[in-house]
Amino acid sequence: MGNQATVSIKEQNKSAASSLLKKNIRKFLNNKLAVLGLLVVVIMLVACVVGAIIGVDFSTPHLDQMKSAPSGTYLFGTDTIGRDLLSRVLIGGCYSIFIGVFCAVVSSVIGAALGAVAGYFGGKVDAVIVRISELFQAFPQLVLVMMLVAILNQRGLGNLLFIFVVTGWMTTFRMVRNEYMSLKNETYVKVCEAFGMSRSNVMFKQILPNVMSPIIVSTTTNVAYFILQEASLSFIGLGVQDSTPTWGNILNAAKSLQVVTESWWIWVFPGLAITLFVLAINFLGDGLRDVLDAKQQ
């Protein structure tokens, strides 16, 4: 009897969820900008990955054809040592998007986990974690990058990923912590606790699903943030080493005003790639917020 009841409740939940999902998808599809954003993101991602898989040649210099304008052979033109810019932008996309997605996801997971613990337990645990987060917030990213480069004696991709994650989890943390602090006093949480459900179960199985939407939204926009961050760090010479073609490194050629004025394609295409992707991600994030934000439903 009890069994049957649970099953039926579960099924009800399922069908309710699926109808909610349908409703949400419809809502999302109505937001034209968000759909456009999603399309652009997917197209760029697929293009980059396909480029990497078929192994476009992004590293062969053609010194006899340096800085040649876009043409039939080189759709995006060539860079300062005659490498094909289209291939470089595609491969650079793989690196930059990977940096953005990896750092956004990992920092969100860390931020969410710590936020959940801090918000749910409160008290001493909370105070300690909050202090730690403030510490990281106050610590200049540049100095961390410099120390890591000096300690490891290399400017690898790993450094950058590590530092972005370490300095990037605080916003998600603050948000999740606040949600937990208000949600832990809700009746359904109290009921679960009264039934003797384990704390980790309450925290991650009961409360977390209710906090998922803002986490997803902030993860999305963080992808854009980290991509821009990578470009800035490359610009002041503290990014990934030059031989790795990230979008930031490719755009670095625009440091020279001579390139800016005489060879527009060298900065316009990577600049456009960054801008377009970041725009698309932001639109996508806005769309997701509209769909997922509980307040607006």
Binding site: L135, Q137, P140, M147, S232, I236, T261, G271, V278, N282
Partner: protein, 319 residues
């Protein structure tokens, strides 16, 4: 309330000490020997005994913790020490910090006014021309890498048009300090502002929309209060509280941004000082600039807390 503020203030001290500790020992871990940067290797091998003397003089032979204590003691008594190039750090900071404060301050004020202004107008005239144009510009301002905006600004406004200088803060031949300041600050401030406006505008628009749709605005309208008064007195005031909090939150981003922008415009501020110190391994300067930035960040987050507490008594009770 006073107790809350005091408690928060006192908490900043151990935080700063922990940060200074991490920086100090982190930099020791890097194995950078200040002697290498101070003395060229030619001299190093030719004057080995003098180098040992110098090492002793600088106290580099003492245990780390002693060195750290001495350094911290110096900082607390206002002695910031010397950079590897021999300049007193206090003097470097005294000349550079005002430049950065100028840059960041104007950008903050300007972006607040423009961002909040456009935000409110687009909320009031939702879906109007200003709303659309503003939103498009805001999104773009956020998506184009800031240094690229800066470089394009230099290209257009200082090279093509010749309206503004491309670098530095003071011109040797300036006759009017005020005009000189305006000319040199315009491009970097504009670049930083473009990046900042976007976020503030979106935020101001959203909160203003929330407020305008709230019941008390509807009540105020129904009471026949003039429309502008409704917006200004009821709408603006209520919408501004969260926007101010966001403004404080943006200060760290502003500092990060100004490091990059200072480098684009060869602006002699604290950001350039820090980047140069980092790339030339001048770690006494790195430590002090780190502390200054960390302190600024802590003060900002302190202000956010206080603002939050002022606006929302529940936060205070929660503590």
């Amino acid at each position: 309330m006073l107790k809350f503020i005091l408690k928060k203030l006192l908490l900043m001290i151990p935080m700063l000490i922990v940060i200074s500790f991490i920086v100090y020992f982190g930099l020791q871990l890097t194995g950078i020997d200040p002697i290498n940067s101070m003395v060229s290797p030619e001299v190093l091998s030719a004057n080995a005994d003098r180098i040992d003397e110098l090492r002793e003089e600088l106290g580099l032979n003492d245990p780390l913790i002693v060195q750290y204590g001495r350094w911290l003691g110096g900082i607390l008594t206002g002695d910031l020490g010397y950079g590897l190039d021999g300049t007193p750090i206090a003097r470097t900071i005294a000349t550079r910090l005002p430049y950065t404060l100028e840059l960041a301050g104007y950008s903050l004020i300007l972006s607040a006014i423009i961002g909040i202004g456009i935000g409110i107008i687009s909320a009031i005239r939702q879906n109007g021309v200003i709303d659309y144009v503003g939103r498009v510009l805001a999104v773009l301002g956020q998506a184009v890498p800031q240094f690229l905006v800066g470089i394009l600004m230099i290209w257009i406004f200082s090279i093509k048009l010749g309206w503004f200088p491309a670098s530095n803060r003071v011109d040797p031949m300036a006759t009017n300090a005020f005009v000189d300041a305006f000319l040199h600050l315009f491009l970097p401030v504009a670049t930083l502002t473009i990046g900042m406006v976007a976020v503030l505008m979106r935020y101001a628009r959203n909160t203003m929309l929330d407020v305008l749709n709230s019941d008390y605005i509807k009540t105020a309208r129904s009471k026949g209060i003039p429309e502008w008064k409704v917006y200004l007195k009821h709408g603006f005031r209520n919408a501004m509280k969260p926007v101010l909090v966001i403004l404080m939150f943006r200060i760290p981003t502003l500092i990060g941004g100004s490091v990059v922008i200072e480098s684009v415009f060869s602006y002699p501020g604290i950001g350039t000082t820090m980047t140069n110190a980092i790339t030339s391994n001048d770690y006494p300067v790195v430590m002090v600039t780190t502390l200054i930035i960390a302190a600024t960040m802590l003060v900002c987050s302190f202000m956010v807390d206080v603002l939050n507490a002022l606006l929302d008594p529940r936060v205070r009770l929660g503590e």
